[in-house]
């Protein structure tokens, strides 16, 4: 305290005090003896070994690492612990089986059949689901009529209806397409509805203050708000649609990956079953990857960091 009151420009132990007597003054800490230090110091370049290890830890390399570990564990587990191909075969045998199927020509045929069924059911389910969700999200009246039915169907395992679908739609592609359609439509509709309802009241007020019409409120505010939710619904729709393909082909089909799995299991061909499952897993991953690409284009504001 003593030092601050000394407002006569005198030197003190710690600093230099400036100011007219009787006025507030400041003590400056400009020590000339101090060697200045930079505020930012660059990190030295990494050694080769360190750089390699760092690249290994990169985010995009992590999936490769985890998949490798998974496959190796699977192979070792089946070869040395289970050791009976009827119960479990390893990934190497599964890939061999795929080569066999490819040579016989069934692989390509099955995949086209399954993919066609999936895309037919999925695309129609997507469009109808989004439209249904929009109707739910914008009309309170429609929602109160439709909500119990939709929630009921969503909670029901619809695949349990698959045996009946043979009766209704006959043997062949159509019943699988319908099953996929039914499985896709609900998560898409429900999420779209939730998204539209998530609209910020302040945003609505903002648009109205610029004289927005009801239609404009929807196109400029509610619809964009719902996009991230809709995307989450579509993701769920992809997974559920793939289940629909498998189960649909289990009943009354003569082709498709689901039929191939069923047939292999009847012949105790473990590698055949797993080959089919693997193809579905790969299809699921590829679809989600493609979809993530698409997601970044329609909702770029959610991906700033990478």
């Amino acid at each position: 305290m003593d030092r601050t009151s000394e407002a006569d420009g005198s030197e003190t132990e710690q600093g230099r005090s400036v100011g007219a007597p009787g006025m507030p003054s400041a003590i400056f800490y400009d020590d000339d003896d101090l060697v200045p230090r930079p505020a930012i110091t660059r990190r030295p370049p990494l050694t080769r070994g360190k750089r390699f290890r760092q690249r290994l830890r990169l985010r995009r390399n992590r999936p490769i690492l985890s998949i490798t570990v998974f496959l190796v564990t699977w192979q070792l587990f089946s070869d040395f612990y289970v050791n009976r191909p009827i119960f479990l075969t390893g990934p190497i045998q599964v890939v061999q089986e795929l080569f066999v199927q490819a040579q016989e020509g069934t692989l390509w045929l099955d995949m086209t059949v399954s993919a066609t069924e999936f895309f037919k059911g999925f695309s129609v389910g997507l469009v109808v689901g989004i439209l249904l969700g929009m109707a739910l999200g914008t009309s309170r009246r429609f929602k109160s009529y439709a909500d119990p039915i939709i929630t009921g169907f969503y909670a029901t395992p619809l695949i349990a209806l698959a045996p009946l679908f043979i009766l209704w739609f006959g043997i062949g592609e159509r019943k699988t397409v319908v099953l996929v359609f039914l499985l896709v439509i609900l998560p898409v509709a429900i999420n779209t509805d939730v998204g539209i309802r998530a609209t910020d009241a302040v945003h609505v007020e903002l648009a109205r203050s610029f004289g927005a019409s009801r239609l404009q409120l929807f196109t400029a505010i509610r619809f964009p708000t719902s996009i991230p939710f809709m995307i989450a619904g579509i993701r769920m729709g992809i997974a559920r649609g793939l289940i629909g393909v498998v189960v649909g082909e289990f009943f009354g089909s003569r082709e498709g990956m689901g039929y191939r799995i069923l047939l292999s299991s009847q012949y105790f061909n473990n590698a055949g079953v797993l080959a089919g499952v693997l193809m579905f897993a790969v299809a699921g991953v590829i679809l989600v990857l493609i979809f993530e690409r698409f997601e970044r284009r329609v909702a770029p504001w959610r991906y700033e960091d990478d």
Binding site: V204, S209, Q216, A220, W301
Partner: protein, 299 residues
């Protein structure tokens, strides 16, 4: 320096360096006998009670008052977002119309749309009013220049700081070139230093454009610094209690806040609202179901 009690409206004149008043012509903005009621299940809340207010072209009016006194309700009713139960809002003598673009609102919490870039956010009013043209982008860009936000056209709102977001908020309102600029506590969410910077920049922009502004604030020093006239509102029901012409020369700057005359204005206004502010603070404590400024929450 004085308070004009609101019983003698006719004698009220904007003062000092405000816009010159032509006694014959209609004021730019005329709020006439405006009442707003909110009906709940078992009661009706009278939020605004016969509020009348005239604002001249190029005048800067600040509205202050305790929380819940109906400031925001008044602003939203002027804007057309709320329908008055009685009374009218006129611009240049004709009924104000939301679709005409007479007003533009600067919202309290910047209310930027996260899915639009900065430029597209500013362009919103032009897009909605179907005036989208090649010029829209240019006009939006110019508005961003006016609020000193360059090089951020293609950024998304979440990449901006609070002060920058408020600049976008302001640009979005001025780009539509409204007759009246309505500002609802635009700087309330900013830190004290950023707020003072924004105050001076708003003064700068206003000095260049001389828009008619109705500005709501809780900061009394902000009101005195910005306004030609400060309107003091009372609560329950919301009424205009007094108005205070601010006779401080323009251009103004932050140093004037230390001026004895400035401080006297702030003290005068504080004296007028102190009791109600204290009561509203107590209300907040004792009544959790407290009516906010905007009990409508409509749509």
């Amino acid at each position: 320096m004085g308070v004009t009690e609101r019983d003698d409206m006719s004698e009220v004149a904007p003062s000092g360096s405000g816009a010159p008043r032509d006694a014959e012509s209609a004021p730019l903005l005329e709020v006439d006998n405006l009442s707003v009621e909110f009906t709940r299940d078992d009661f009706t809340l009278l939020a605004l009670d016969r509020v009348s207010l005239k604002v001249d072209e190029g005048e800067f009016v600040c509205v202050v008052g305790a929380s819940g006194c109906g400031k925001t309700t008044l602003l939203k009713t002027i804007d057309g977002l709320l329908k008055p139960t009685e009374g009218s809002v006129r611009v240049r003598g004709r009924a104000a119309n939301l679709a005409e673009g007479d007003m533009a609102m600067v919202f309290q919490h910047d209310a930027l749309l996260p899915w639009r870039t900065v430029l597209a956010n500013v362009r919103l009013g032009l897009d909605l009013r179907a005036r989208r043209s090649k010029k829209s982008d240019k006009r939006a860009h110019d508005a961003l220049e006016a609020v000193k936000l360059r090089h951020f056209d293609n950024h998304y709102p979440h990449e901006l700081s609070g002060g920058m977001r408020q600049r976008v908020n302001l640009a979005r309102a001025i780009v539509v070139d409204p007759e009246v600029l309505l500002m609802d506590e635009p700087f309330a969410s900013l830190d004290a230093q950023t707020r003072e910077v924004m105050q001076t920049e708003l003064l700068d922009i206003w000095n260049r454009a001389r828009k008619t502004v109705v500005f709501i604030t809780h900061q009394l020093d902000e009101a005195v610094l910005l306004a030609d006239r400060v309107i003091v509102m009372g609560s329950h029901p919301g009424r205009i209690r007094a108005e205070i012409p601010i006779d401080i020369p323009r251009p103004r700057d932050l140093r004037m806040k230390r001026d004895p005359k400035f401080v006297k204005y702030v003290d005068l206004i504080w004296g007028l609202i102190e009791e109600e502010v204290r009561r509203s603070v107590l209300d907040d404590i004792t009544n959790f179901d407290h009516e906010s400024d905007d009990p409508a929450g409509d749509d």
